[in-house]
């Protein structure tokens, strides 16, 4: 069995350059988006005064920017490790980046030049019906930008599929299904390939669905007579959005699979359990999205029940497979902690921790009193900020260390890690607390009774920003020195 056979032990230099550049870009945008998040919390806490139209523009930029950048950083991680096993095209990767950046320019123009503030979820028909706040041209710029970003991602995933199929002959083999169902598999795919295959399948479907609703929304801006059923549009949007944002974590966790074994000396194997977990995740990620529609009582009952059951079930692979495996691999492994291993471990904690309030809100009876309160950003900041972003920063630190374990943690490392953990937990818990207090989500103005946790959340958000700046400076300076 040639399990985990690599194409070459060292990644092609141009790949290394492209990935380091992408991570530099991602970290800078993450920081800028964190600053926008800090501004929003300060406004809600009455520590800063800006007009509501600007608040909602910032909210739109923050959501779109964070989701897009999480996708970008996740793609860089996935691509970096794919190159260990298969040969994805470097040209397609540059094309992906070009589409992404062009899309970002259009999105920013739509928001800050055109005043578009329809949120990253662009819930139809809001882009076309702003109450005369923004023009259809501004909305079109935003929608077209999203479409270009989506085309870039689609190219990226199609090329990843081509490269994987080039070695494993088909995606069934790449998902490890022969191993799962008991037959011999000559070339067992490593976890990085199993995860990448699941991600490219679900995200290709999601991007196509997203492109359909984006295209209809764009045409509707100029041809109002061309409409779509709003409930169908909502289904499309939440299907696309749910899969895309979850896939960012699925891509980031590849860094955990590939890097943690270097520290523990214990290879992360494609066990039947891991393969089964990813196969289940593939199905559940596609089918769970109706949990975003619990308050649309006209939805078919069976879809709402499916949404609730799969919300719970989706957490099981995270806890029983990935989290459990990480803890088993870490246990008495003689690991020498550095910033990379600590951030990757924190990332898995954040992912598993975020599952808890997410599952709780994934029950219809709970959703009735938690949906669209600040409980929602509470749970998704848990598994995105403390989960996905922590993994991405861990990966960036790994690159900066020359892809080998670093020296013991310096004081600045400890402060950055402690600040990110403490600040992140503070951000999350103040959101969840406000959700418990029924504070609505996406409100530019909060009444005085709501502002205390907002103010505390602002302090914690500032701590996260400071910690991320330290990590960013170290990444940039080390990359600059090594190049």
């Amino acid at each position: 069995m040639a399990s985990n056979r690599t194409i070459s032990q060292t990644v092609r230099p141009v790949v290394g350059f492209a990935v380091r550049l992408t991570m530099a870009l991602s970290i800078v945008v993450f920081l800028l988006m964190m600053l926008l998040g800090l501004i929003m919390r300060m406004v809600q806490g009455s520590l800063l005064d800006i007009p509501p139209d600007l608040f909602y523009q910032i909210m739109t930029a923050h959501g779109t920017g964070m989701v897009g950048t999480a996708g970008l950083a996740g793609a860089a991680i996935m691509w970096h490790f794919l190159n260990r096993y298969v040969r994805p095209s470097v040209s397609v990767y540059w094309l992906f980046l070009a589409f992404f950046l062009t899309g970002v320019v259009l999105i920013l123009a739509g928001i800050f030049a055109g005043g578009f503030a329809g949120a990253w979820t662009f819930l139809y028909p809001l882009p076309a019906r702003s109450g005369a706040v923004w023009s259809v041209h501004a909305a079109f710029s935003f929608i077209a930008g999203l479409l270009l970003v989506g085309v870039g991602f689609l190219l990226f995933y199609l090329d990843a599929a081509r490269a994987i199929v080039g070695r494993y002959r088909n995606l069934s083999n790449a998902l490890g299904w022969p191993t799962l169902f008991g037959s011999e598999q000559a070339d067992t795919p490593p976890p990085a390939i199993v995860a990448s295959s699941a991600v490219l399948i679900i995200n290709t479907i999601a991007l196509v669905v997203g492109a359909v609703i984006l295209a209809i929304t764009a045409v509707n801006l100029y041809v109002p007579s061309l409409t779509i059923n709003p409930l169908l549009a909502k289904n499309f949007i939440y299907f696309f959005g749910h899969v895309f944002i979850n896939a960012t974590i699925y891509m980031a966790v590849i860094a955990v699979y590939e890097i943690i074994p270097v520290y523990t000396g214990r290879p992360w194997k494609s066990s039947r359990l891991l393969i089964a977990g990813w196969s289940a995740t593939l199905v559940m990620a596609l089918a769970v999205y109706p949990h975003h529609l619990f308050q649309d009582a006209v939805m078919p009952g069976w879809m709402l029940v499916t949404g609730q059951i799969l919300s719970f079930a989706s957490g099981i692979p995270v806890i029983v497979i990935t989290t459990y495996a990480l803890l088993s691999y870490l246990h008495r492994s003689e690991i020498r902690w550095d910033l990379t291993s600590a951030l990757l471990t924190l990332g898995v904690f954040g992912w598993a921790g975020g599952v808890i309030p997410a599952i709780i809100d994934g029950m219809i009876v709970v959703n009735k009193v938690m949906h669209n309160t600040l409980w929602v950003p509470g749970h998704f900041h848990f598994y995105l900020l403390l989960g996905m972003v922590a993994m991405a920063l861990g990966f960036a630190t790994w690159l900066a260390q020359g892809e080998k374990p670093g020296t013991a943690m310096t004081l600045s490392h400890k402060l950055a890690l402690g600040g990110f953990l403490l600040g992140g937990l503070g951000v999350v818990l103040t959101f969840l607390y406000s959700g418990k207090e029924s504070v609505p989500r996406r409100w530019a103005v909060h009444v005085p009774e709501w502002t205390a946790p907002d103010q505390l959340g602002s302090v914690f958000a500032a701590v996260v920003v400071a910690a991320t700046i330290v990590i960013a400076i170290q990444y940039m300076s080390r990359c600059a020195r090594s190049s």
């Binding site: 819930l123 003689e334 309030p357 009876v365 938690m370 969840l432």
Partner: protein, 171 residues
């Protein structure tokens, strides 16, 4: 309910943190190169424990069906129509009876809005989406007299945060 969910979340997150800290404290200690053979002994109980909890929670929260009228009463509910548009609510009954089941018929004239029913302590009691082209129903029985509010819970544009209606419940 919200207080219980908050405490439950805090407890489970704390439990997860304790497990991580316990493993991290031992992670630097020496052991065999391979993962210890007994390290998987908690996995099956954890898996089946989650399955059992999942089945129990699913049954307990879906039966009775959460969208049904209040099962404690057979009274014919009072129909209240709530129509939303940027950025106001039009509610055809703003004075509502105590202890009588009410069914809100909620829709929108333009974009998506959220019908969030709040009590005078700003506690969210129930909600449903207000959608163009659809009528969503939500059942509620007021058991305390006083002032209630409808807040918009789906982002709908510039004055989303000020889209509020007042309701009064009288004995």
């Amino acid at each position: 309910m919200q207080e219980f969910l908050w405490l439950l979340t805090l407890s489970l997150v704390a439990l997860l943190a304790v497990i991580f800290v316990a493993v991290i404290r031992q992670a630097a200690m020496p052991a065999a190169a391979a993962v210890p053979a007994r390290s998987g002994r908690y996995r099956q109980p954890l898996f089946w424990g989650l399955i059992i909890v999942g089945v129990a929670v699913t049954y307990g929260t879906l039966v009775p069906w959460p969208y049904s009228p209040d099962p404690r009463t057979t009274d014919t509910p009072l129909r209240v129509n709530a129509i939303s548009e940027q950025w106001s609510w039009s509610v055809d009954h703003t004075e509502l009876p105590l202890n009588k089941p009410i069914v809100f018929f909620v829709t929108s004239r333009d974009v998506n809005h959220g019908f969030g029913l709040y009590d005078s302590d700003r506690r969210l009691l129930t909600q449903v989406q207000a959608m163009p082209g659809y009528v969503n129903k939500v059942h509620y029985t007021f058991t305390k007299p006083g002032q209630y509010r409808v807040l918009c819970l789906e982002y709908c544009g510039l004055i989303h945060h000020d889209m509020i209606a007042e309701l009064t419940v009288k004995p």
